[in-house]
């Protein structure tokens, strides 16, 4: 499939270059990596925090300390189904915008999948990838436009992980359609793409030729583990320290995207010593 090509808007080009950052979630710094400690102990490795949360859990002490001391941040939502117009209700839009403003987020981002079934309720949480069809891509794009208009933030949809993907499109073509219709930037998760390619028995970088690299604003890199489920080989997106070779291959291919602004190493649950070398490698590839 050959998506129509449009140019990124000027507001997208005006987004700040953040450099290499670390992911965080509510409470993650208590048992894992505290970005303020990491940045102080190893200057120059971690330049911002991508804070992932939902309205129930809100902002934790870690992200507030980081941003109060002047640290840059982005806000990664974990609780909206971007294919589902009904899910972008007023309360969620207001609350999410408020949380993002409080941490001075440079933009909003998040997996464009099914974060919960039905309404937000206890036990409804999961993460499924979108259905890879043109209709779904258009619905997703329309909701991104709504989200951007309601919050005033640019929104970067992320390709989610999955144990299976339905629909007739390659996931990169799907997000190319989304970006074209919504005129939005993109967050490419290299580890998630590696999972997709493996499930479709494709080489790691298949599809990047037709993918609008000039819209890629943010990259994710994370470790994964190959697992066997009754003879079925699955990559578990477990955010262990070491990315798979496929993930690195994708990263190396897209790290020079012309409008790239941020790279997140999703590693907050690991010991600091286990992630320093990869932070250095990412900074070398994408200096601030």
């Amino acid at each position: 499939m050959q998506p129509r090509v449009t140019s990124p808007s000027t507001t997208l080009l005006a987004l700040p270059r953040l450099g290499v950052g670390i992911s965080a979630e509510p409470g993650s710094a208590q048992k894992g990596i505290d970005a303020t400690v990491l940045a102080a102990a190893h200057p120059g490795l971690c330049h911002f925090v991508e804070y992932g949360s939902d309205l129930d859990r809100g902002l934790d002490d870690h992200i507030q300390r980081w941003t109060t001391s002047g640290g840059a941040a982005t806000y990664h939502f974990l609780d909206v189904n971007l294919e589902e117009p009904e899910d972008l209700d007023d309360a969620w839009l207001r609350g999410t915008a408020e949380n993002a403003r409080r941490i001075g987020a440079a933009w909003l981002c998040g997996d464009a999948g099914l974060w919960h079934f039905g309404a937000r309720d206890r036990g409804h949480q999961l993460l499924l990838p979108p259905i890879l069809t043109r209709d779904s891509a258009y619905a997703l794009a329309d909701n991104i436009l709504r989200l951007e208009a309601a919050t005033g933030f640019r929104v970067l949809p992320e390709n989610p992980p999955g144990a299976f993907y339905l629909g007739d499109l390659h996931i990169l073509d799907y997000f190319a359609l989304v970006a074209d219709r919504a005129n939005c930037g993109l967050l490419l998760d290299c580890a998630h793409l590696a999972i997709f390619q493996r499930l479709r028995n494709l080489p790691a970088t298949t599809g990047l030729d037709g993918y609008p690299l000039d819209r890629v604003v943010e990259l994710h890199v994370a470790g994964g583990s190959e697992q066997d489920h009754d003879g079925l080989a699955i990559i578990d997106d477990d955010h262990t320290p070491e990315p798979l070779s496929d993930t690195w291959a994708i990263f190396d291919r897209v790290a020079h995207a012309p409008n790239l602004r941020a790279v997140v190493y999703e590693c907050e649950h690991n010991p600091v010593d286990d992630v320093l070398a990869n932070f250095a490698r990412l900074n070398q590839a994408f200096p601030r």
């Binding site: 309720d121 206890r122 499924l128 259905i131 339905l166 003879g231």
Partner: protein, 281 residues
């Protein structure tokens, strides 16, 4: 079509029987989906649906957190986890997913059905289910509408706060809940006792059989819903209000039918407004 496909995936993930039905006859099981998507669903390797093998157990844990006493009494009666696990194959679960409803409230409906059809027979169980379900409903209640100040004249309209719900149960219900709490605390100290023949057992004492009516209001406070014991007149007046606006005169007339003199009912209604359990609109 897209969301319908996502809902079908969720149902297949939670219910292997449904997944098998999709595989066996996709056109009949999922007539509302496009042939292309339902064929893809039918072709899914069964193993990918089982990658998260604790999916049902995790969901059940969340449900059991809210219906702690009901589920504990159910397990004590049946000795079978399958009794609760059957929820994910029930129409209550599938309907909650299809209707964008609440899985937890669907779980409550599932348990109520099991009580009604005689599958579950523990005497105090319906009363305990009522209390825990009301707590769950109030936990999910929308915010109060704005109150309109002014004297509470007969032609004014009032409505019950969505965060206030009166219930009448047997006094044994709260006793049973307290005894279940103590039991769960004890086994929670060392979960491996479940493997022992001499593990602590749940025995409800005579207090849990107390059938005396107990009047309660489930009230939403900052930390969540809580139970408040009230007297019968307050229960009756609050029950005379409704979640939608109703004229004060109608509320008072209803309360009178419930045996509360008009003047008393008016006084109680005023206090309920002062306590923000009833909202003048």
């Amino acid at each position: 079509m897209i969301l319908a496909t996502q809902r079908a995936i969720v149902r297949m993930l939670f219910d292997p029987d449904f997944a098998a039905a999709v595989r066996a006859d996709p056109a009949t099981t999922l007539p509302h989906l496009s042939p292309a998507l339902r064929d893809q669903l039918a072709a899914l390797d069964e193993r990918v649906l089982r990658v998260n093998r604790l999916r049902r157990r995790r969901a059940l844990r969340t449900l059991c957190d809210e219906w702690k006493a009901t589920t504990t009494l159910t397990l004590a009666e049946t000795g079978s986890l399958a009794t609760l696990d059957a929820f994910f194959s029930s129409h209550h679960f599938h309907q909650a997913v299809e209707d964008r409803g609440s899985m937890p409230l669907g779980f409550a409906a599932f348990l109520a059905e099991r009580i009604a059809d005689g599958t579950l027979r523990t005497r105090i169980l319906p009363e305990v289910l009522t209390v825990e379900t009301t707590l769950a409903v109030v936990r999910r209640a929308p915010p109060d509408p704005p109150a309109v100040p002014g004297p509470l004249t007969d032609d004014r309209r009032v409505q019950r706060s969505p965060g206030a719900h009166p219930i009448r149960v047997a006094a044994g219900a709260t006793q049973a809940m307290a005894q279940v709490d103590r039991y769960l605390f004890e086994v929670g100290l060392m979960p491996a006792v479940a493997l022992c023949d001499d593990a602590p057992q749940l025995h409800l004492d005579a207090r849990a059989a107390n059938a005396t009516p107990l009047y309660l209001v489930v009230v939403r406070i900052a930390s969540g819903p809580t139970l408040v014991t009230v007297d019968e007149p307050l229960y009756q007046v609050l029950s005379s209000t409704s979640p939608t606006p109703r004229k004060v005169s109608a509320v008072l007339a209803d309360a009178k039918q419930r045996g509360i003199p008009i003047d008393d009912a008016r006084q109680i209604l005023t206090s309920l407004v002062d306590d923000e359990l009833v909202i003048p609109t």
